[in-house]
C-alpha cells in the first residue's frame, strides 16, 4: 500500500552516515549506575530501595503508583549507595537510585528464555507484561506503553504500526535494531497481535534505510509470515521527511486516519510503537527481562568515533564517551535525544535513560540571536499540525496566554520544524513551551 505525503515538514541535514553503518556494540558494565526514577512521562516512580540494600539484576527499585507512571528496575547486581534528589536536564528535581555495581555478578546473570503459548495470551497479559517490565516509548516520548495497549472497552484496535521512521537527524539506534534484530522485533509485533488480533501489522520505515526494509522482508520470509491465514505484515517505505515519525503524522500517512486534536491514537484504532519498545516487549515476554538497557546513538561532529551502543540504564555518559574515543574540545552543545526535539545538557554529568535515543556532540560555532518576524509564513507552511506558530510565539512573548491557548497551543507537539525553518531565527518552540508551562503552572 502506498503511503501519502505528510503535511508540512522539513528536510534537515540528516548526518546519519556518521553512525548508521556502526553495528551495535555492547558497553561494558559500569562500576556505578545512577538511575533516575522519572525516566517516563507522568508521575515519577516511588523508590522501593534504600541505602545499603543489595539488589540483583531485574529487581524493582522504583514502583509505578499511578496510571501514567512506570516501574524502574535495577539493571545490575550491587549495593544501593544512596537515593538522592538531583535535577534532570530539564531542571525538574528527581530521585536517583545510585548503585555500586558488582560487575562479576552482573555479567554472570543470564536472562533465561521461557516458553509462551501465543494462543493463551490476551490483552490483559500484554498490558501487565508491559507494565511489569516498566516499558515506555523508547523513541523519546517515554509514554508508558501499557497505557497505549489498554484501550477503553468501547474502542477496538485494528492496526499496529512499528514506527521505524527515525526521522530525527543523526540518530541510527532504531535503524541498527531493525537491521540486526528484525526477527525479534517481529516477535514483539506477533505477541501484540496474538492478544489484539489486529487486521494490519505495518512496519513503516523511511526510504533512507533500505537495509532495514530488506532485513524485515527477509525476516518475514524466515518466520513464514507470508501466509494467507495470518495477519498480513506490510513493510512500507516512506518518503524521507521530518517529522514523519511523530505518532499522529505517521498514522495519517500510513492509514489515512486523522487522530482528533487532543485525543490518543486508540480513538482511530491504531497503536504506534517504536522498534526498541517492541524489542523490550519481546524480551520481557520471552526472557522475563524488564527494561534495563537500550541502544543509544552516540554521534555528532564532536565525538571521535560515532557509535550505536547498547548500554544499561543508569550508565554514566562519561563511560559512553570513553567508548567512543573522547570529545572534541570544539564541542559547543551536548544533546540528549535528536537535534530537532532533544534536550541540551548543561554538563556531561548524566546517564543513559529509557528514553535516551541519542547523545549528540555538536560543534556549531554560532548561535545567532532572534531577528524580528518578517511574517514570511515559513513556520505556517512547515507545521505538520496546521498551526500558526508565529502567532503562538508572538502571543507568548506578549504574555497573552489566553490568546495562545485559543490559537490551539495545546495541539503543538514541539517537533521544531517551525523554528528550524524560521529565517529570523525566532525560538518558536521555546516560546511555545514557555506558554504551555505558564498555563500549566499558573493556570489561566
Amino acid at each position: 500500500m502506498l503511503a501519502s505525503r505528510i503535511r508540512g515538514g522539513v528536510h534537515p541535514a540528516y548526518r546519519k552516515e556518521l553512525a548508521s553503518g556502526q553495528p551495535i556494540e555492547t558497553a561494558p558494565t559500569p562500576e556505578r549506575v545512577d538511575i533516575p526514577l522519572a525516566q517516563h512521562l507522568g508521575v515519577p516512580a516511588t523508590a522501593k530501595v534504600a541505602r545499603g540494600d543489595e539488589v540483583a539484576p531485574g529487581d524493582l527499585i522504583g514502583e509505578a503508583t499511578k496510571l501514567i507512571c512506570a516501574n524502574v528496575h535495577s539493571p545490575v547486581a550491587g549495593k544501593v549507595r544512596a537515593v538522592v534528589q538531583k535535577p534532570l536536564p530539564g531542571g525538574r528535581l528527581c530521585d536517583y537510585v545510585e548503585i555500586q555495581v558488582d560487575r562479576e555478578a552482573t555479567d554472570a546473570h543470564i536472562w533465561e528464555r521461557q516458553d509462551i503459548d501465543l494462543d493463551k495470551i490476551d490483552q490483559k497479559w500484554v498490558a501487565a507484561t508491559l507494565r511489569g517490565a516498566g516499558i515506555v516509548g523508547m523513541g523519546g516520548a517515554t509514554f508508558p506503553t501499557d497505557v497505549k495497549f489498554s484501550p477503553p472497552p468501547n474502542a477496538s484496535l485494528d492496526t499496529l504500526i512499528l514506527n521505524g521512521a527515525e526521522c530525527e537527524p543523526y540518530l541510527s539506534c532504531d535503524h541498527r535494531m531493525m537491521v540486526e534484530h528484525a526477527e525479534e522485533l517481529l516477535h514483539g509485533m506477533l505477541l501484540a497481535d496474538a492478544a489484539f488480533a489486529f487486521s494490519r501489522l505495518v512496519i513503516a520505515i523511511e526510504k533512507n534505510k533500505p537495509d532495514a526494509i530488506a532485513a524485515f522482508n527477509a525476516a518475514i520470509d524466515a518466520l513464514g509470515l507470508r501466509n494467507a491465514a495470518r495477519t498480513p505484515v506490510e513493510v512500507i517505505g516512506l518518503d524521507v521527511r521530518y517529522p514523519q515519525g511523530a505518532e499522529k503524522v505517521l498514522i495519517k500517512v500510513v492509514t489515512g486516519r486523522t487522530v482528533p486534536a487532543g485525543k490518543l491514537p486508540f480513538e482511530v484504532g491504531v497503536v504506534v510503537s517504536n522498534g526498541q519498545t517492541l524489542f523490550a516487549l519481546y524480551e520481557a515476554a520471552y526472557f522475563g527481562k524488564p527494561l534495563v538497557d537500550r541502544v543509544v546513538t552516540v554521534s555528532g561532529e564532536g565525538i571521535e568515533r560515532p557509535k550505536n551502543i547498547r548500554a544499561l540504564i543508569g550508565t554514566p555518559v562519561a563511560d559512553l564517551i570513553q567508548l567512543c574515543g573522547g570529545v572534541d574540545p570544539a564541542t559547543t552543545k551536548v544533546i540528549a535525544g535528536g537535534p530537532m526535539t532533544g534536550t541540551a545538557l548543561p554538563s556531561l554529568d548524566y546517564v543513559v535513560t529509557k528514553g535516551l535515543s541519542g547523545l549528540l556532540f555538536l560543534t556549531q560555532s554560532e548561535y545567532p540571536s532572534e531577528s524580528p518576524c518578517i511574517r514570511c509564513g515559513s513556520c505556517v507552511e512547515v507545521c505538520p499540525m496546521g498551526l500558526m506558530p508565529l502567532k503562538l510565539a508572538a502571543y507568548a512573548k506578549a504574555g497573552k496566554f489566553e490568546l495562545a491557548k485559543a490559537t490551539n497551543l495545546a495541539d503543538c507537539f514541539e517537533c521544531g520544524s517551525c523554528a528550524w525553518a524560521c529565517p529570523a531565527n525566532i525560538q518558536i518552540v521555546s516560546w511555545i513551551k514557555y506558554a504551555k508551562n505558564y498555563i500549566r503552572v499558573k493556570g489561566l
Binding site: 552543545k333 524580528p372 500558526m388 521544531g416 523554528a419
Partner: protein, 323 residues
C-alpha cells in the same frame, strides 16, 4: 571525566535550516540584476547612478533612524534597505531627478518602515509609500515618460509599426505586445521589461520566496476580469494579454506582492490578497482617473493584510473531530 561546563543551553530544535533574513533579501537583490541591467541599457548610464543613490539613501536613512532610536544600526546589513532602494528606483520614471530619488528613499524607509518600528512591523510596502509620496509631491515629474533606447534590433520601433491599413491592425498590436514583453516601451525604469522581470522572479518563485499562489491569483484575476470586459466590447477594452504586459502588473506581481511583511502568510490569505489586488487594479485601470492602478491596489490590500492574517487561519490537524 570532569564535568565540562559551558555548553550552550537552548531549547530544541538544535538544528536550523539555511534560510535567514539576509539570505532572502539578498536573493531578491540578486534576482533583480537582469531587470536592472536591461533598464540601464534602455534608459542610459545615469540610471545606474540613480540606483546607487536610492540604495545609499535608504541604507543611510535606516542607519540614522536606528541610531536616533538607540537601536542596533547594523540591521542595514540584513539587505532589506537595499531591496527598498532598488525597488523604489525601478518604479520611478526614467526622467526622475536625483533629489526626488533621495526624498523618496528617505520617505520609504522613515515613514514606510522605521516609524512602525522597523523591519517586520510596517503595514505598507516601503517602496510604494515612497512612490506614493513622490506622485503626490511631483505629479508632473511622476507622469513624464521617456522612450527607451533601441536595444533589441529585431523589434520594430514604435513609429514604424503604426499602419493605416485596417488589416494590419492585429499585426501592429502583436508587435506592440512583443515590445512590451521585452520592455522596449516607455514606462518606469525597471518595470517595463516583463521578460527580464520574469527571469529573476521565476527564480524567486522556484526558491519559494515569491509565492506561486500570489502570482496565479493576481495575474489570474486580471486576465479573467479584463477578459470579460474585452469579450463584451473589444473596441473599448484592451485584451487581457495587454493588461498583463502593460504598466507595472508583472513587476508588482513578482516584486511588490512578494514583500512578506506586508502580505498575508497563509495560503488562503495569499489568494485573497492576490485576487483583491487584481480586482482593484482592473477597476482603477478601466474606470478610475489613473491609467495605472497597481500601486494603489497593493497599498489598499496592504492595509487589510493584518485583518486577513487575523481571521484567515489554517485548518488544525484533527480539529474537525475535536469534541
Amino acid at each position: 571525566m570532569s564535568t565540562n561546563e559551558g555548553f550552550v543551553l537552548q531549547s530544541a530544535p538544535h538544528a536550523h535550516g539555511r534560510s535567514s533574513i539576509p539570505f532572502i533579501m539578498h536573493a531578491v537583490n540578486l534576482s533583480l540584476i537582469p531587470a536592472i541591467v536591461i533598464s540601464i541599457l534602455y534608459f542610459g548610464w545615469h540610471i545606474l547612478g540613480l540606483y546607487v543613490l536610492g540604495v545609499a539613501s535608504c541604507v543611510l536613512t535606516e542607519a540614522v533612524t536606528k541610531v536616533i532610536r538607540k537601536k542596533d544600526w547594523r540591521t542595514i546589513f540584513d539587505g532589506s534597505a537595499i531591496v527598498t532602494g532598488l525597488l523604489l528606483v525601478m518604479i520611478l520614471p526614467p526622467s526622475i531627478t536625483p533629489i526626488m530619488v533621495i526624498l523618496g528613499s528617505v520617505v520609504s524607509i522613515f515613514i514606510g518602515k522605521e516609524v512602525f518600528g522597523g523591519l517586520g512591523q510596517n503595514v505598507f510596502n516601503p517602496a510604494l509609500v515612497g512612490r506614493a509620496f513622490l506622485s503626490a509631491a511631483y505629479p508632473v515629474a511622476l507622469t513624464t515618460w521617456t522612450e527607451p533606447n533601441r536595444v533589441f534590433a529585431f523589434l520594430p520601433d514604435a513609429a514604424s509599426s503604426a499602419t493605416p491599413l485596417a488589416g494590419a491592425r492585429f499585426e501592429g498590436q502583436a508587435e506592440s505586445m512583443l515590445r512590451m514583453f521585452f520592455g522596449q516601451t516607455s514606462g518606469s525604469i525597471g518595470a517595463t521589461s516583463v521578460l527580464f522581470i520574469m527571469i529573476g522572479g521565476l527564480v524567486l518563485t522556484f526558491m519559494g520566496i515569491v509565492k506561486w499562489r500570489m502570482l496565479v491569483s493576481f495575474f489570474g484575476t486580471i486576465v479573467v476580469t479584463t477578459g470579460i470586459f474585452w469579450l463584451i466590447d473589444p473596441t473599448i477594452y484592451q485584451d487581457p494579454l495587454y493588461h498583463l504586459l502593460a504598466g507595472g502588473v508583472a513587476f508588482a506581481g513578482f516584486y511588490m506582492m512578494s514583500d512578506m511583511v506586508t502580505t498575508p502568510y497563509t495560503n488562503r490569505g495569499i489568494v485573497i490578497f492576490g485576487v483583491g489586488a487584481g480586482l482593484i487594479t482592473v477597476v482603477i485601470r478601466l474606470f478610475g482617473g489613473f491609467p495605472e492602478g497597481v500601486m494603489f491596489a497593493i497599498l489598499l490590500m496592504n492595509s487589510v493584510t493584518p485583518i486577513i492574517n487575523r481571521y484567515v487561519n489554517n485548518r488544525v490537524f484533527g480539529a474537525e473531530a475535536r469534541t
